[in-house]
């Protein structure tokens, strides 16, 4: 990890920034792919260079501020600035030198950031094997794996699985307002503009779970519009894909089937899809494999029974303003619905 290579003695605050950022699974300075690698290199170059410039400027400034005036000026008591043509030329040279160095540094940074931008947003080099359609909604992510065969299309939400070491193309669109797709460990940001599909690609060098976040303010619950990218081995990815292709289980216990009946007769059916049942709503996330996901409500809560019941009874408590209304269910009904949702592996 780059974090370990830092000279901790250099500046304490550099170290502090670095440890706090790298400790989470969402960090631009802990790159897990070639594009994030470029971004993070550029970031470190800028940080070290500009820290050097800052220290230099501050030292010069303090020298200027604390240096006394010449003896003559002080004893004469008059506030005259003495000029000395020899010193003036020397000073002019220093200023000129400063201007030149500043220009050169800024230009070098401009060129390197331009090159990095070109490299990471270039068209993909390898032939595309995996294309994922992402649609941003207020305030969750619809995820669809493209396939020519309709029965091989996987639809899920807020959790994206990709195989390690493979280039993956993302087609980005929005259903309402502008959002932005950002997985700091893997890539920079790409905006999702309604009616104007954008395309980007990324590649992960090592397995792990990386958190992504909407990076364009999009309303009340913008901060709770996260997702997870699960980078796994080719075999694990294939196994996951196979399991996501299956419809919801048809063999249900009696409480699970009561839960399904409730789901179909309550408002849930208007908004959610569960493949293999009559529920085909498109307003909210696809729930066919809800139980296989780590989080619910776009990373707002861990996926467990307590949080699910909290969410269903009053999601407005968890994410005020989100587009799922509070659904009145008595405790018996709630238990049936939860039993059913937990069967959606």
């Amino acid at each position: 990890m780059r974090a370990r290579q830092i000279n901790w003695g250099f500046l304490t605050w550099v170290a502090l920034v670095n440890t706090t950022v790298a400790a989470t699974t969402q960090s631009s300075v802990d790159p897990a792919g070639p594009q994030a690698q470029h971004i993070s290199q550029l970031w470190w170059v800028m940080l070290y260079l500009l820290t050097g410039v800052f220290i230099l400027v501050m030292s010069l400034l303090s020298i200027g501020a604390f240096r006394r005036r010449s003896k003559a000026a002080e004893t004469s008591g008059r506030n005259v600035i003495q000029t000395d043509s020899l010193r003036e030329t020397k000073m002019a040279r220093v200023v000129m030198g400063g201007v030149v160095v500043t220009t050169v540094i800024l230009f070098a940074l401009l060129v390197s950031s331009f090159i990095v931008g070109r490299t990471i947003y270039s068209t993909p080099k390898e032939p595309t094997v995996l294309t994922i359609d992402i649609t941003g909604h207020q305030w969750w992510w619809d995820v669809r794996y493209e396939n020519q065969v309709a029965s091989q299309i996987v639809t899920t939400a807020n959790e994206i699985h990709i195989p390690v070491g493979r280039q993956v193309v993302f087609k980005l669109n929005s259903a309402d307002v502008i959002h932005s797709f950002w997985v700091p460990n893997l890539h920079g940001k790409t905006d999702l503009i309604p009616g104007h599909p954008a395309e980007t690609w990324l590649k992960a060098d090592r397995t792990g779970v990386y958190r992504g976040q909407c990076a364009e303010f999009c309303g009340h619950q913008h901060a709770h519009m996260a997702f997870e990218v699960v980078v796994e081995s080719e075999e694990q990815f294939q196994a996951w894909y196979e399991s996501q292709l299956k419809s919801a289980p048809a063999q249900l216990t009696s409480s699970q089937s009561r839960g399904l009946q409730l789901f179909l007769s309550k408002p849930c059916v208007m908004c959610h899809t569960i493949q293999g049942t009559d529920a085909g709503g498109k307003v909210g996330p696809d729930l066919t494999h809800l139980a296989s996901r780590q989080t619910i409500a776009a990373g707002a809560l861990q996926n467990n029974r307590t949080n699910l019941s909290r969410w269903i009874l009053n999601s407005q408590d968890v994410k005020p303003g989100n587009h799922m209304p509070p659904i009145p269910l008595n405790s018996e009904e709630l238990n049936f619905v939860l039993d059913y949702l937990e069967s959606l592996k």
Partner: protein, 158 residues
């Protein structure tokens, strides 16, 4: 004159409020009180939620953007099952003969009130400052905020 800003603030507050968790108007009170007013009709957020749900629940599948198709037009002056907020509410919940399905239990109550408010805004029966002034899709008619209040004509089913 000094009261004008105060009055403006009070009225505009109602228009601007975003209550995510207020209980819906009471249905039985709405149906028994002849001067009942749906408070959501004065609120811009509720009207725009109604507008969003109108297409998300596919009401526009049959009623288009108010112009009608398989179902009757909603932007004209003709009302078959009543124009009052609680009557529109009942039409959505109970369904009507000749194709209007019942959404009883399927649509959460606050949302039915939001839809009822939006439906009435299509023929100009809500305050203009709260009604929606733009569409998310191509605009096919003047927005609800510029819709003149249509007279109400009660007609019998076709």
């Amino acid at each position: 004159m000094a009261l004008l800003p105060v009055a403006l603030t009070v009225t505009s507050c109602k228009r601007e409020e975003r209550n995510f968790n207020t209980p819906p108007p009471n249905v039985s009170e709405a149906q028994t009180n002849p001067s009942f007013k749906n408070p959501l009709e004065e609120n811009a957020y509720s009207l725009s939620e109604g507008k969003r749900l109108f297409s998300q629940y596919n009401c526009n599948g049959c009623h288009a953007q108010g112009g009608g198709g398989m179902g009757p037009a909603l932007m004209d002056e003709k009302w078959i099952y009543g124009a009052r907020p609680e009557q529109v509410f009942a039409t959505i919940v109970e369904g009507r003969p000749n194709g209007m399905p019942s959404f009883r239990g399927r649509v959460q109550e606050t949302q039915v009130w939001q839809l009822s408010a939006y439906v009435r805004s299509l023929s100009g029966h809500v305050p203009k400052d709260a009604a929606s002034s733009r569409d998310d899709h191509m605009q096919g008619k003047p927005p609800e905020s510029r819709t003149k209040e249509q007279p109400i004509k009660n007609t019998s089913p076709p």
